[in-house]
Symmetry: C2
Subunit: 460 residues, 2 copies
């Protein structure tokens, strides 16, 4: 009798039979069709209390629990084997919006786009924005410390969380959903749960920061000859436009060509490298586009196009956001989600390209990302191996890329998390003392190692 058969009826009683999906298959395969969960029981509890009861039952019987949000992750973070897959989709209420404190409290299973919409309806703005916002969930965004397109101005998910409600592995709740803007009462545990990928607790609710909605926007596409010219423009613009500079995306010519073809859109300009820039202002002003165009012209960035209509703006963003999808159509690829200091991006790209081509002359590089944060989606593929066989090269390609990341003071994980894909790389970026402390934290909260086992932390 396998895990699922053994526990199904008891678990159904705890979470209610209607909260076991009739077709669990969508929850047992990741979006890249790379990771398959085996021998698992998928549950979708519709209350925090049911989650507590489930967790207590699992603690008593030593059953592993793997939490899952929108299942949009890229690092095998909700992969499971002989475990409860705790899908959060049914815990999806907006609990409260507080206008005096500019805060929104929501269940963890709320879809990011629904939170953006709820904020907008209250004449506020929730800035987290990423390609999967129509299906990813806020709990998953928090558990992975998601980034996305507006980090330059508003920070990552971590910066947008005021407080959390978390069910611990012992079934107890830690709840800090009051909209407190300052609270320094010993060690800040909130930041341990953010980015912990379900290994320390189940995030069931969150109080988030809201902002004044942008009242003006200007978007431009700029072609540059090399990355250093893009870095130079970024540095100047950060000091000139300050917080008005909301997005600053870098795209290689090759990445753009793939996306333009997939999107059936024309390239805005011809250049070796492309930059997509967006300014926003929270006070209304009609001239922001003119100001941006003039600034680019006066500073010698003449190979550029201002989006003169909302449609053009959307096309620019589609070119940026469809890069991953256009690559997925081509076939399997080896992804990297890295960051280096902005001052080192050009060096990193040159170093890494040289080393990869030396080892793999046939490799193709799809380089794009959030230059404003020093973060690149450094994707690679082999034109002759476009199925999952390519993953046989993954560790070797990773090794070359990460060596250059470390040489340039960078990190192997910027905004996608560690999951099961990168845990063996963690000792390259965290010291033995740090990993020992992480394990001490894990052991204290989850002594039987039941919460998302074999993820995030390297073997102890």
């Amino acid at each position: 009798m396998n895990f699922k058969e053994k526990w199904q009826s008891q678990i159904a009683q705890i979470v209610s039979p209607s909260n076991l999906p009739t077709d669990p298959s969508p929850f047992l395969l990741d979006q890249r069709k790379r990771y398959t969960s085996e021998n698992c029981l998928v549950v979708q509890p519709d209350s925090v209390e049911k989650i507590q009861n489930l967790v207590r039952f699992c603690a008593e019987h030593r059953l592993p629990i793997v939490p899952q949000g929108g299942n949009t992750g890229l690092v095998g973070g909700s992969l499971a084997n002989g475990a409860i897959v705790l899908n959060m989709s049914k815990l999806n209420r907006i609990r409260e919006i507080n206008l005096a404190d500019n805060s929104l409290t929501a269940d963890a299973g709320c879809i990011l786009q629904d939170i953006q919409a709820a904020a907008q309806q209250a004449n506020r703005f929730f800035p987290l924005s990423l390609a999967s916002e129509g299906s990813c969930q806020i709990g998953g965004n928090i558990a992975c410390n998601a980034g996305g397109l507006n980090v330059l101005r508003y920070g990552t998910m971590r910066d947008l969380v005021i407080g959390l409600e978390v069910v611990l592995p012992n079934g107890e709740i830690v709840s800090h959903l009051q909209p407190l803007h300052k609270n320094t009462t010993a060690y800040e545990l909130k930041h341990l749960f953010i980015g912990s990928e379900g290994t320390l607790g189940i995030i069931t609710g969150a109080t988030l920061k809201l902002f004044a909605p942008p009242q003006a926007q200007a978007t431009a596409w700029v072609g540059v000859n090399d990355i250093q010219a893009a870095v130079q423009l970024l540095s100047q613009m950060k000091n000139h436009f300050a917080e008005r500079l909301c997005s600053f995306e870098l795209i290689s010519e090759f990445a753009l060509k793939l996306s333009a073809q997939y999107s059936n859109l024309a390239q805005p300009v011809q250049a070796a490298w492309h930059v997509l820039i967006e300014l926003t202002d929270s006070l209304p002003r009609d001239d922001l586009g003119d100001v941006l165009a003039q600034y680019l012209y006066e500073n010698g960035y003449e190979n550029s196009v201002l989006a003169q209509s909302e449609q053009t703006r959307r096309d620019f963003w589609a070119l940026r956001e469809n890069i991953s999808a256009s690559q997925r159509v081509l076939g399997a690829n080896i992804k990297h989600d890295i960051a280096v200091p902005i001052a080192k991006v050009a060096d990193f790209v040159a170093d890494c390209e040289r080393d990869l081509w030396q080892h793999y002359p046939q490799i193709q590089l799809v380089v794009f990302g959030h230059l404003g944060d020093g973060s690149l989606h450094y994707n690679t593929f082999f034109p002759e191996v476009l199925n999952n066989d390519v993953y046989q090269f993954e560790d070797a390609v990773n090794a070359i890329v990460y060596e250059n990341v470390l040489k340039n003071q960078g990190t192997i994980a910027a905004e996608h998390g560690i999951g099961s894909l990168k845990r063996h790389w963690l000792p390259r970026v965290r010291s033995a003392d740090e990993i020992a402390l992480m394990w001490a934290i894990k052991r204290q909260l989850d002594p039987h190692h039941l919460f998302n086992p074999n993820k995030l932390l390297p073997e102890n």
Copy 2:
């Protein structure tokens, strides 16, 4: 033979005899003259390596170490007894400024004002600003997660730290001083050290965020009839001016009278409650003052004065910043550093005043603080007990204040830390599971409990 006599010569060899101050007395008494350290050896190492050697020696011989920055704390956080007082003043170099990444790396002993000045010299802005900025040190600011006057726009110290260099209790270093704007590699330990008040490690260096310098500024003093009117104005202005709203300070009439007399300045307006508002813009504009004045007028806040000159602006800020000093001149007082949701500030003030006056009809309340963050310095004094004898009432007064804080979903420590003053209150705001986790973290890093013992965490 006392502690100091016993260890002085060996410690002098480790840190060099010139790094033992000839007159240690300033480092053994806090600025409120409330806490005296006894039987301690003060050292001022001038390198990270000497700190490591000292820490290793102390680990071997089980000697407690109490780190100390500018000694401006208010909660007895660097109080010691039979310990090494590790004063950081000699570790005070600005190590690097990186303009592409808008970052500054500094030794922990740098005075806050010197960091502000170094940023300004590089045409950048470091926003942390508080009354003691001429003597507090950045390491202390980080260890206590300092707040201050610009939190509304730029966040607390926690939000301004990119990475830390920390000497652990075993003498090893954890160093993440690369200016990485995104880095999600398992549990974020940086945020454990921020706010840990020296109990987990000695912060020796930090990489900080810099910003574009403000190019325009407008400052106004507004009188209102009650706190709710101030909250209403704050809420409107946050949505209208967004990040331009940099400071929003609340001051009671009584607090203002004390400060005006001490500062030899006139009150800008007469009212029950006062608000000091500052807008800044990172693009130059001449009309920001007019915009602010017009906004206040059009929204019915006519009992207000715009600072028409830099001198008037400084006077307004002196009135705000001298409140604590004017109270110190009066004598000893019982302070609270609390925060509640902004929506609850008016209720908290009304509830607390009622309860305090019921128990202590003679008590005087000096209420002021950062309304923009929901944080109040809720100070109290007894006109007939103006010496340290007043502390006999401290626990009872605290109990009344904190009960009302908790009733209004608030916190007992917003920006001054816990130190030795509030550790017995911690179980009121953190659950047993949370405190157990904190102790597990402490034990893992500092098994012999040598780093700032008997601070922050309640008895285990």
